[in-house]
Amino acid sequence: MYKILKKEYLANNIWLMDVEAPRVAKSCLPGQFVIVKMDEKGERIPLTVCDYDREKGTVTIVFQVVGASTKEMAEYEVGETFMDFVGPLGCPSELLELSEEELKKEKLLFVCGGVGTAPVYPQVKWMKEHGIDVDVIIGARTKDILILEEPMKKIAANLFIATDDGSYGFKGNACDQINELVKNQGKEYTRVIAIGPMIMMKFVALLTKELNIKTIVSMNPIMVDGTGMCGACRLQVGDKVKFACVDGPEFDGHLVDFDQAMLRQRMYKTEEGRAMLRVQEGDTHHGGCGQCK
């Protein structure tokens, strides 16, 4: 059993939790993920590691309520326990393999969107701890749904906020902000790390290809076991089929077939929607799920 030690509402249906999981906390690294299964009958839900405390033995997860299972997860309170919490899974960020010298030569730009801001956080923190200055863009539709702005501000050399509606920071999306920095302000980057909704990562990758900047993305496809057994998370990367759980979750953004990945992510959308309705409406369920008579 894995106890919830902290729970915090961030914004826009996004929650943060610290979970007691000493084995995971001892060994996890930025870029890796965990799988949470709330109870006996729950799904296995993959979530990227957002932070960890090796001494306290805790791992921080951040998730957005998007379906029946995440809605239920948001109802768990401090002191309650998840039945299963397994990790770390996947490969650590490729940046961690570089020597300090190599890292110092890099000019890194992290681009985050929505709940994807969470997995960027530990990477930026790791860089800060190793004396590497990095720039960070957080993109959001509007000011109210921004998350982790304050913590990120403390560790990023430069933090740029971009909102589609201009309610805060730069007016425009993440790509507009990249264009502004690179084309107008003449900033040079050797590598972009983009984590967020697939559609955001797709367009960032298209832009950086044009700008000729190497780009890493973190993929979050549907998974079941997360240990390389089921193949549900397969992606087309260049001319190869890769499993996000063991080969990733980070890949070269210029090689990922995002259109296919987005179609694959929709696989259970209808089922999820139905399950969501069952939870929301409970005993008062009055149809609309397309399944009942």
Binding site: R23, G231, R234
Partner: protein, 462 residues
């Protein structure tokens, strides 16, 4: 009861039409009278060939003798000296090519139904709460076992009986490995059989820690150097599913058999009370001809689909057990033999709409000795399906081999281990089961777990 010595006592099964719509066990097994009757057919050979056919060398005439006298508890203790999982083996071992293939009765008539007798003994012992005999005292030595499938459970059980302090590390949330995630309920009931046998292994003193991925959360070296284990056995199983590499394979509606079966068996997606979904499909093609293909096909059938097995060779070469093929046919699964997929058709939404296949014919024998299937030019046709399940085997998972210094693998990335004692290229590290051989059977994995337990005992009792 009257027994014809040349014919085995028939075993009761659920009617094909009834069972095609439920997940209850197909074979109902013997009752005591039937089991004792069948047991009298055993000739009690002085030099029993059946024992030689068994990968874990169970004293078959020994347990059958007790059973023939109605002493089921005694029969169970005989079996449990050799096997930690008799209720499982009685159900899923290919007895027809192992013990029963060597039975002298089989020369003139039917072989003794050894598997069904083993199953009866194990099930009855479980009902009566009889457990295997525990070690009299512990020897103070610690062994880590990676994976709680058939190899790991066997190795752990054998070592615990010798007095070792054994901890099994399991990556998934539930113990059992392929017995839990792979083999379906209708062939191997989970609560009643698998969980019970795991409880028996635990009753010997074995600890099972779930949710620990060795190679990630901790490594083999850390287990040996920091966590104080004196030896490690790797029984981590088969690994990554193979796909064909044909166009359309990443469409929604194309699954590996591992995914389809894991959703249904481990996550219980067939039951509405569980959160995990499964897109079961209305018309399903299962590509492959092994036991896993049969399991996937019969699962899809029970979830309401019309199911075709697509296999490139002929019936004679089907690698699945004859009993499984027979059951699948009885239940209404269509066998498209000498047929191979060429391309999967996909609509704009990314969903499967059909699969082009080509007819095959058998040519000259290949390296495996089986006649090589060759395409019949111009014989392409389209099978209209909405779901395709690829059941083509697996390739080894690199998690452990890539994080363990000095652990040798072969050109297929399987861990290299001695057959007689499981010793790998790394001191104190033993391995067995699918991680070593590639995808094989439950009983072969158990045999390897047993050999490794012996190897580890020889090392640590020096």
């Amino acid at each position: 009861m009257e027994v014809d010595v040349l014919k085995r006592v028939p075993v009761r099964e659920q009617e094909p039409k009834v069972r095609a719509a439920n997940f209850d066990e197909v074979c109902l097994g013997y009752n005591k009278e039937e089991a004792m009757g069948e047991a009298t057919r055993c000739l009690q050979c002085k030099n029993p060939q059946c024992v030689k056919g068994c990968p874990v060398n169970i004293d078959i005439p020994g347990f059958i003798k007790e059973l023939a006298e109605g002493k089921v508890g005694e029969a169970y203790q005989v079996i449990s000296r050799y096997s930690a999982l008799p209720a499982v083996c009685g159900r899923v071992c290919p007895q027809e090519t192992q013990c029963e293939a060597k039975c002298i009765r089989g020369f003139k008539g039917d072989a003794v139904s050894i598997g069904k007798l083993e199953r009866f003994v194990a099930d009855t012992a479980a009902e009566e709460g009889i457990q295997p005999a525990k070690a009299e005292k512990m020897n103070g030595k610690k062994v880590a076992v990676i994976g709680s499938g058939p190899a790991g459970l066997t190795c752990a059980g054998d070592l615990a009986k010798l007095g070792y302090d054994v901890t099994i590390f399991e990556a998934l949330h539930k113990a059992g490995g392929v017995l839990s995630y792979g083999i379906p309920e209708f062939r191997l009931p989970k609560d009643r059989v698998v969980d019970k046998e795991i409880e028996n292994v635990k009753s010997l003193g074995v600890k099972i820690e779930t949710n620990v991925v060795i190679g990630k959360a901790t490594t083999i070296d850390e287990l040996l150097n920091e966590e104080g284990f004196d030896a490690v056995f790797i029984g981590s199983g088969a690994g990554l599913p193979k796909f064909m590499g044909i166009p359309g394979e990443n469409a929604n509606g194309v699954f590996s058999a591992n995914e389809y079966l894991t959703r249904s068996n481990l996550m219980k997606a067939f039951d509405d009370n569980y959160a995990t979904p499964i897109a079961a499909g209305k018309k399903v093609a299962v590509v492959g001809g092994g036991n896993v293909a049969m399991d996937a096909a019969r699962t899809a059938l029970r979830l309401g689909a019309e199911v075709h097995i697509v296999y490139r060779r002929s019936e004679e070469e089907l690698p699945a057990r004859v009993e499984e093929v027979h059951h699948a046919k009885e239940e209404g699964i269509v066998f498209d033999l000498l047929t191979n997929p060429v391309e999967i058709h996909v609509d704009d939404e990314g969903n499967v709409t059909g699969m082009t296949c080509i007819r095959m014919e058998l040519g000259e024998p290949d390296d495996s000795g089986r006649r090589r299937p060759v395409e019949v030019p111009g014989s392409e046709f389209t099978l209209e399906v909405d779901t395709v399940i690829m059941s083509l085997g697996t390739s080894p998972n690199p998690l452990i081999s890539s994080t363990t210094e000095g652990l040798e693998t072969n050109k297929w990335q399987c861990i290299v281990a001695e057959e007689e004692n499981g010793q790998t290229s790394k001191a104190k590290v033993y391995a067995g089961g699918d991680a070593v051989t590639g995808a094989a059977t439950v009983i072969l994995a158990m045999g390897a777990g047993k050999a490794a337990a012996k190897g580890i005992h020889e090392l640590l009792s020096k």
